[in-house]
């Protein structure tokens, strides 16, 4: 066996963090096709005019479609999504990246913005689920 620098299972040991693996990338391929379609103004308009009908053009799972309608970014990441794709959706909504990202925390937009202004979230206690450090 080849040596690895660390066990790959440790990638799942980061609190509140999902690593975008090849398997997740495949799971979200059609979700991400939808996200990237929003790089076109006509598509954005079509989506805004009838979100559900527009989503039905894509071979996404029903759970993925519902999470898009709900703008539930944590759920979208759970369903394979990656933030670099998902911000195409929040940009289409006119949200700032900070609002989209902050929506995945337990804070209000104002609370999240205040935390960032105060220096961000310290890593203490958030490095490892196992080691609680």
């Amino acid at each position: 066996m080849r040596q690895r620098l660390y066990p790959l299972e440790d990638l799942e040991d980061i609190p509140g963090t999902t690593v975008f693996t090849a398997a997740r990338s495949r799971q979200a391929y059609h979700l991400h096709k939808f996200c990237m379609s929003l790089m076109d103004k006509d598509n954005r308009n079509a989506f805004k005019a009838d979100e559900r009908a527009y989503l039905d053009r894509f071979r996404m799972s029903d759970e993925q479609k519902q999470a898009v309608l709900d703008r539930d970014f944590n759920r979208l990441i759970e369903l394979g999504g990656n933030i670099y794709f998902l911000v195409k959706l929040s940009n289409t909504d006119g949200w700032s990246a900070q609002r989209a990202v902050g929506s995945m925390t337990d804070m209000t937009p104002d609370e999240y913005a205040a935390m960032m202004r105060a220096g961000g979230r310290p890593p203490a206690g958030l490095r490892s689920i196992r080691d609680k450090n």
Binding site: G16, A22, V101, M116, G119, L126, R127
Partner: protein, 280 residues
Amino acid sequence: MARVTAGIATSHVPAIGAAIDLGKTQEEYWAPVFAGYEWAKEWIKGEMPDVVILVYNDHASAMMLDIVPTFALGFAEEFEPADEGWGARPVPTVYGHTELAAHLAEQLVIDEFDLTIMNHMDVDHGLTVPLSLLFGQPEQWPVRVIPLAINVTQFPTPSADRCWQLGAAIRDAVAAFPEDLKVQVWGTGGMSHQLQGPRAGLINPEFDVSFLDKLTDQTDELRKITRLDFLREAGSEGIELIMWLVMRAALGEKVEELHRFYHVPASNTAVGHIVLKPRD
């Protein structure tokens, strides 16, 4: 002969681009960020390169879907700013340097870096925000740019040491190019930040400042940082710092730090910026 004359690293936060495009640079929130770039904006006027090899990551704008290249070299005559969901940034078209790009495409593959060659791609904020930070809002960019996009999105991303080796190979390839060109290598992205999940907003100034401190002459330590280390210490998007190592390695063994800047926050991100010059 062509030569690498300097290296610049900077964060490439999209909100920084929006602040420039919307005329908000003097607002209370943004003024300290832009003040940190005044030195380099003046300095580069006297050190203007002919070509910038700009190491960045595509944020699911031109890649990362139907194809997932680890290292992708921009090989077109021109690259248009990408529409990332609210219209393209109002910045000039980026013009490439196809002769040097062709040379790099050959030399780097011969040196066993199996590049993907991009004959057509749009460039997103990862590439255009650094240009805006250094050159402001010109009618045309004053330099040719060879984009070099590195996968930092889909695991596995290339190791820090692999990025270092790529930078070293770029240095050799530039030195073997017959035309007399001044080339800068820019590494972009970072510093600590996390854009997903309940842990979003993570910032680690100790890690970031240590990274800046070691970039001049303790680079062996930086080359050992694993993806797991980046995740634990610098947030899920802190991995972008591997692109700084391409820049650093392209400068050779000894460098002088000319300038640095560190500021928290810009949007979700710790902003880092450093200017390095090779020493003989």
